[in-house]
Subunit: 298 residues, 3 copies
């Protein structure tokens, strides 16, 4: 991987201060041996970076091998953000130096396809933004439930000149059909809970006050079922519904290739100048702001 | 197939009395040479057992070979039940001794895949429970319409430690996407008419008072069309949408394997003690009751 | 291709007068180098005939090769009709003599699959009838938005004894699942904007007064994005969602074969006698009228 000029990083040291890198960003709670919760807790934005990868990797490995776990719920402890985009302030080498995973795919797509195949039911409980990696993790989960008022899903990448890298081109058309998938990916806009349900982006959107109770009841119910019946049934659904790894593989390569293009770098720089990676307007309304980047470039 | 201990059958003779086995359970009516109705009429629960298989088989064979039939509607004469789960009181050998069908698949999946491919339009008109086999027959039909108030669809099997056997892992993700299919199959809960429509489990749910008129008008309309145009168009849709037999085949094997597991037998025994296979609360609210089985087993 | 008796063409010269053949039926407007509009303007019905093919072909070729275009919107200038069925008054040889396209498919399906793969976002903005070819062009576009009050989508062909020829058997099940696709194709009825949204036939239906603003804002937004990111992302979605050409190819052959059948000719003749190809009741309510053809034939 050649080095990339990254014009949005003039004062690297200052920038890094806003994103503490090495703390534990993912909390794992065992509600019971059969029912686990994984909570993203990386304030202020739940940005996902290279340092998050081994933390998520440890969770995935446990889900694959633990004899008791039947269901895992992914949620967030950060107000306004379920899990958001990749960390564009981290050194690229920190990402590209992470070894490929057991599937042979690069680290992030490897973990997501393994989550999809794990003999455990995964449920994304989405409150706040699920943008970029956050959307991709939700799509790799078995089911998705969203807060009607507070969930925002998006694949924002094309708006910044990027190709998304974590599987959404393979997964979205299978969930919602080609037309709506292309709107999500090429429109690159924020999608609220109700539209997400109408499009099949999530199983259901629920009133925010009901989301936690609904997901907990479903997870508790599934945790009371037989692990072998769950795993054998899911395996047959996988055969009918999962994209092959060969279909997933090109996405991360296309993401990295797009990141190197000067046109993309110019867009990300403009987004950084507006406040990308900082709490506030740009992160809260990323769909709107990527729609403003092109004017000076046309 | 080795013999299975079936701890829920202590008093076999008594149990059989509640399920008369050899009566005609399926009525075939020719509204016209082109428009047939198949009515499930096996009170009190429209349970589907080994003795139902040849009766349904005769219908499927006629649909494949009759020169005039263009459309068939499946409905029920039993209040509260469209068609429900397999008969767990019948001797297992009565099921496993039925020879494989022309496709090489075991008898039930053979009939369902042949229904899907028949050069005739099949419409499930769902009022009451379509549980297990009932859901699978509806999914193998070309279209499904449901009573908004009175239809309940479910794949309850995982809740009892079973893997469903009649095709739903192959068919549901193609209808509603992986996430909703996994919720139906791994949540194993009752799904009402409106949610069934939102999920794409049925084409539409209609007010109960409008269901019969709607389905009859659609069937009458299709019966007025040209049989060859119907058959040729359906054949091209089949190529784009049907799972291969190789994808269907493992489901019935997985169902039988799951039936033999002691953990599954314990769950079915508990369900029998609660009143499974008898008119009443358990059969009416099967989704709720399979959610109660795990507590003593955890 | 053998000659076909065409009993609905007794007075060929008179009939042709109602459908002027050689005028420009498609207008191409460059709102900007990146944002194009293609407007069907072939009053009174926006019928699509052999003479339309090279006009649409020129547009497709430009979309494939132009270095600047990122998004194209298809709309209509004809009240009540987005784009409707094929011209059954044209000589069949005018259609069959058009050479196959670069994909090796016959002219119309060739253009539609190339539109699907073009490195440009295509959006159908549907007001009025999108029947037959109109529906097929919309389905080959990347996204579809419909007027809630004024859009009518339909694949009417089976109602006249025809097999649709431009891809809908391959495309509809992937968008809306097999059950709803079979209802659209074998019911052959008119589908309004709201049902089209519920079925996934269109991305969304919008109040008629909002449709133009919504589509224009989305197209303008996409036109501000990076062409390479759009094209690379779309290419990966194509791999996950497009039918192969081998799956599209048999549809046009089946359409031509069905057109030659005497039973089909009798239906089209009856439809012509009712006013097919003329402004008025039959063209406005084609779904109803194909439902009336069978009575005398049964």
């Amino acid at each position: 991987m050649r080095a990339t000029p990254r014009p949005w990083l003039p004062h690297r040291k200052d920038m890094k201060m806003s994103i503490p890198a090495s703390t534990q960003q993912i909390r794992l709670e065992h509600r019971s041996p059969a029912y686990w919760r994984v909570t993203f807790d990386h304030p202020p934005l739940n940005i996902f970076g290279p340092e998050t990868i081994p933390q998520l990797g440890a969770v995935i490995k446990s889900l694959e091998s633990d004899a008791s776990v039947k269901v895992v719920v992914f949620d967030s402890a950060v107000e306004g953000f379920f899990l958001t985009h990749y960390n564009f302030l981290a050194k690229l080498e920190e990402s590209t130096s992470i070894p490929r995973g057991p599937t042979g795919l690069q680290a992030l797509p490897d973990m997501l396809v393994r989550l999809s195949r794990a003999p455990v039911v995964s449920i994304a409980s989405i409150r706040g933004r699920a943008t970029g990696v956050g959307s991709e993790l939700a799509l790799a989960s078995d089911m998705r439930f969203a807060s009607r008022e507070k969930a925002i899903l998006s694949q924002w990448e094309v708006g910044a000149g990027l190709v998304p890298g974590g599987g959404p081109m393979a997964r979205l058309p299978r969930l919602m059909g080609r037309g709506r998938a292309l709107e999500v990916l090429l429109g690159a806009d924020d999608i609220g809970g109700d539209l997400a349900e109408r499009y099949g982006y999530v199983n259901r959107s629920l009133p925010d006050s009901e989301l936690d109770g609904f997901v907990d009841a479903l997870a508790t119910r599934i945790a009371s079922f037989d692990k072998e019946a769950i795993a054998d049934t899911k395996k047959l659904v996988n055969a009918a519904s999962l994209p092959s790894d060969a279909e997933i593989a090109p996405e991360w390569d296309a993401f990295l290739a797009s990141l190197h293009r000067p046109a993309t770098q110019a867009r990300i720089k403009k987004l950084m100048e507006r406040g990308f990676h900082k709490p506030g307007e740009v992160e809260n309304r990323l769909g709107y702001h990527v729609g403003q980047l092109g004017s000076g470039l046309l």
